[in-house]
Symmetry: C2
Subunit: 144 residues, 2 copies
DNA sequence: AGGCGACTGTTATATAATAACATAATGACT
DNA sequence: AGTCATTATGTTATTATATAACAGTCGCCT
């Protein structure tokens, strides 16, 4: 999926959810899309400043939080970063693999697995919030 | 397991692994043990300062990193915190459930799951580093 | 027009983590 | 014991990450 159609789909996705992908939010989503893999908030901030002049952290964080909330991005806690979700339309349960060396991200479907996981947690009365699990490690390429 | 026997076991554990639980590291482990659930580095720092006078961040971070490396603590990325591992001696694959509301932590064994998980990731050539998985959500008590 | 709710701008600050270098303690070897 | 390498700790400064708080703007409804 190229960037233009991704952005169009993202816009539809937000509308369906009753909220708006504003110019700013869309801009920031574009900036994230420019990168491969994990992107950091302050990197996005720098990009934004380069393109638009002055900008402050809250501007970026608010937009990123919005995008995460809408499922367009996933937050990568282990790296203080964000990654694009490439299949936000299906109600997926993804397993996100982040390479510690190159920063590349691979999101694989693990619905069956995470369903089973949910059973385990529910057995102890725990209601899990996230539907996307994240693992850090070393990818195929870097692992050689 | 009470604190004294935990600390003794921790000391043995380190020796077996060919490194030392020094006075400082032990002290910081004790400070973590004082709390329930997730503890933050700067909280430990404050505790240390209260007990010992002056102390700086690197002192705490180095000790915490050591303890994580030895498997005595787990790092909770999602909350920038640390939790005690209560069964570091068995070669466990734990699933750590962190309550977003109260901060309490429950570590349940999920070896069979994580074994299956490993198979999935290996299928795409990814070598996962962590053996302990973390989920955030809402615990039984807070969930009512 | 007026008021409301959302989004955004702006300034300041809080929180988390590390770099870089200095000093001290430990242990191996002669 | 004395030398030397290694590890651990102290110290200062800085970088990185994230949020609070308030002010202004804009579209929309009445
Ligand atoms: Zn996804
Ligand atoms: Zn890689
Ligand atoms: Zn554990
Ligand atoms: Zn709770």
């Amino acid at each position: 999926m190229n960037k233009q159609s991704y952005l169009a789909a993202a816009e539809r996705h937000c509308l369906l959810r009753g909220c708006k992908l504003t110019t700013l939010r869309r801009h920031i989503l574009e900036l994230v899309l420019e990168h491969d893999g994990v992107v950091k908030a302050y990197q996005v901030l720098a990009d934004l400043q380069r393109e638009r002049g002055v900008a402050a952290p809250p501007t970026v964080y608010r937009a990123l939080d919005f995008l995460v909330e809408q499922g367009l991005l996933h937050k990568v806690d282990a790296l203080n970063g964000f990654v694009v979700c490439s299949h936000f339309e299906c109600n997926h349960h993804g397993l996100i693999l982040v390479c510690e060396m190159c920063g590349r991200v691979e999101e694989i479907d693990a619905s069956h697995f995470l369903g089973a996981l949910q059973e385990v947690t529910e057995a102890v009365g725990f209601e899990s919030r996230e539907q996307n699990l994240l693992l850090t490690g070393v990818c195929k390429a870097c692992h050689a």
